[in-house]
């Protein structure tokens, strides 16, 4: 280790603040760019809300993904689950306001079943989580596109309030995302399940020896992850007014949610990280998009830069880690 005495109480914990540093620098860059370009009309509260509002699907998905990654697992099935949830939402509702509650319940049940299946395959059959959820993703996508190949059903106007309704200038959906994040934070910080999540992710064998039922914790994390993806699908259906079997894959929500979680400082190996880092990661992502838009970057160049930024942001704190990486 380093020659800094470890007992120094005020030692700067870089890892703990890395996501904040990234977020602050992204904000600073954004503001600096706006001032340089002389487009101060973007510096309004409405615009800030608009920036945040663009990444609600990703945000909700990433909150769930945080749980999966914290237990040293991963979920690649979220994108196709989002598509499936959106399609089920709009097909079950089919324009009828009376079917709103049954549709939401059906989708949540679907999410719970998928999460349970993921968790059981990973813990009981001991399949690598990457493969298990990738397989699940293919299965969901296959079943979904067997029955639907275009926008199906439609969402009643009453339900579109979820995506379009606002209090003042703040959309319901944005508040919902932050409430969800708050709940997730509360669970991780104060509940027994939350501390179990960190223990299992940190060292599974030690957690088992300490009497934690590790399988149940992993299954629980996957159920939460899939439920969040299902909710993200409901939101997307409400925003697009209908669901199609490709909308999840089109948004690359599986890989982007993982990237956001990792940028937020949650370690892929599990056991370290948290919800607010993830939210910071989501905001960083949408800020980067806005920076590109303000600067008028070409769509393809945008994609190239995006790839580089994901790697650079992760390298930003991973480079200091002394642990071997996979």
């Amino acid at each position: 280790m380093t020659d800094t005495p470890l007992s120094t109480p005020r030692r700067f914990r870089f890892e703990r603040h890395a996501s904040t540093i990234l977020l602050v620098s992204a904000v600073a860059l954004y503001i600096a760019l706006i001032i340089i370009m002389g487009q101060t009309r973007f510096l309004t509260l409405e615009n800030l809300v608009a920036i945040l509002g663009r990444s609600i699907t990703l945000g909700i998905t990433a909150i769930g993904q945080t749980f999966a990654i914290l237990v040293a697992s991963i979920d690649l099935s979220v994108a196709s689950l989002i598509s499936a949830s959106a399609v089920v939402t709009s097909v079950v509702m089919n324009g009828d306001p009376a079917m709103m509650l049954p549709a939401v319940l059906a989708v949540l049940a679907l999410g719970a079943v998928v999460g349970l299946a993921n968790g059981l395959v990973i813990t009981k059959l001991e399949v690598n989580p990457l493969i298990a959820t990738l397989g699940m993703s293919l299965i969901i996508q296959g079943v979904l596109s067997y029955y639907y190949n275009n926008f199906a059903g439609n969402v009643p106007v009453e339900f579109q309030v979820f995506a379009y309704g606002t209090v003042g200038i703040v959309p319901f959906s944005l508040m919902f995302m932050f409430v969800l994040a708050g709940c997730a934070w509360f669970v991780l910080r104060f509940s027994r399940f939350g501390s179990d999540v960190y223990s299992v992710g940190g060292n599974k064998d030690a957690a088992r020896l300490a009497g934690i039922k590790t399988d149940r914790v992993v299954i629980g994390a996957h159920v939460i992850c899939s439920l969040c993806a299902a909710i993200a699908g409901i939101y997307l259906a409400s925003r697009l007014r209908s669901g199609a079997p490709w909308i999840g894959a089109e948004g690359v929500y599986d890989l982007e949610s993982i990237a956001v979680v990792v940028i937020g400082g949650t370690v892929l190996a599990g056991g370290r990280g948290g919800i607010w880092g993830t939210i910071a990661g989501v905001i960083i992502f949408s800020l980067i998009d806005s920076i590109f838009n303000v600067a008028g970057v070409d769509a393809f160049v945008k994609q190239v830069l995006r790839g580089i930024i994901i790697v650079a942001a992760v390298a930003f704190y991973a480079a200091r880690s002394k642990r071997p990486v996979a």
């Binding site: 298990a132 699940m136 296959g142 790839g307 580089i308 390298a315 991973a318 996979a326």
Partner: protein
């Protein structure tokens, strides 16, 4: 360790020779295809099948190097796309261009692999994220290069490797160049993985990185080389696939996951330490055979996805079960 602490592998527990189940699977699938479609037994039938599987087989064998070293390479599909798009942009219908385009593409591939390896080894970015970023970047580069829609097409000299058949050969009557490529590169990759010091170090790094380092393995160099091999095979696979299928902007998408699937069916252990090149190639054959079979059964693309998913989970679950039963 002393000899007495190691359990002696007794001959009695090994009544049957230990055959990797993937070979049984391939034979069974091919027999099933022949039963359903006797034309498959003809040279045109199985040679076309092998021709179709070549790109994936070479790609998977290369991707196996990274898997054995304990990582993932998600960028291979985008390297294939970049190879096809880049070649078609550079070739501009000049048949003589092939002779410098393919070496150039291999050079680009080597650089991409080097970057992947350096980022993973020295910046300590998990390979999943590093190669994912590379995938997004390269897809963007391919789009930028082509301006969104590919122009030009590949000259016949370039398509030679993926398309051309040598005809009038006794017994097998026709032999696609792609199949020769499959054999040549398959043997080279087999040799590199199973008959060299490098291959042994690769297994050591994937099994236990710290132990390998303490034993004097240059861990960083080995991991970087694995990524370079993977990227180079992706370029080769791109050349062959482009030759067979022509130019399109999403030609390589999905191949990264198929390559991992093929390696897993072949018994490779994710996160490193175990894997075999011939079994991986057999895994690629099995995957393609399953798709062929589903086509023969008249099942549509969606069913293909479901079956691929089930096989993926099934193969890994089976391998874990076997390992547990063997007490390892």
């Amino acid at each position: 360790m002393s000899a007495q602490s190691l359990p002696q592998p007794t001959a009695a527990t090994r009544r049957l020779p230990r055959i990797n189940p993937v070979y049984v699977l391939v034979v069974a699938l091919i027999l099933a295809i022949i039963v359903m479609n006797p034309a498959f037994g003809e040279p045109t039938g199985y040679m076309n099948f092998l021709k179709r599987v070549t790109a994936l087989a070479i790609l998977s064998a290369g991707a196996l190097y990274v898997i054995v070293s304990g990582g993932f390479d998600l960028s291979v599909g985008s390297i294939m796309t970049l190879t096809v798009i880049g070649s078609s942009m550079l070739a501009s219908n000049d048949p003589n261009s092939t002779y410098w385009i393919i070496p150039l593409m291999l050079g680009i591939g080597a650089v991409i692999g080097l970057i992947n390896g350096l980022v993973v080894s020295y910046l300590k970015v998990p390979s999943l994220i590093a190669t994912l970023g590379m995938m997004i970047t390269l897809n963007g580069v391919a789009f930028m290069w082509s301006g969104g829609a590919p122009r030009g097409y590949l000259p016949d000299t370039f398509r030679f490797f993926g398309r051309y058949n040598i005809t009038d050969i006794p017994v097998i009557s026709l032999l696609p160049i792609a199949v020769i490529c499959l054999v040549v590169f398959g043997v080279i990759l087999w040799w590199g993985m199973h008959r060299t010091n490098f291959g042994r170090m690769l297994h050591a790094v994937g099994d236990n990185q710290q132990a390998a380092r303490l034993a004097g393995v240059p861990v960083e160099r080995v991991r970087i080389s694995a990524f370079v091999v993977s990227a180079l095979t992706a370029v080769l696979a791109g050349v062959i696939l482009g030759g067979r299928a022509g130019v399109s902007v999403d030609i390589g998408s999905g191949f990264e996951l198929q390559a991992i699937t093929a390696a897993v069916i072949g018994g490779a252990q994710l996160l490193g330490g175990r894997g075999s090149v011939p079994a991986t190639i057999a895994g690629a054959l099995a995957l393609e055979a399953i798709f062929t079979l589903l086509n023969l059964l008249g099942l549509a693309q969606p069913v293909r996805l479901v079956v691929q998913g089930l096989i993926l989970i099934g193969a890994v679950a089976f391998a874990t079960y076997q390992r547990k039963r063997a007490g390892r």
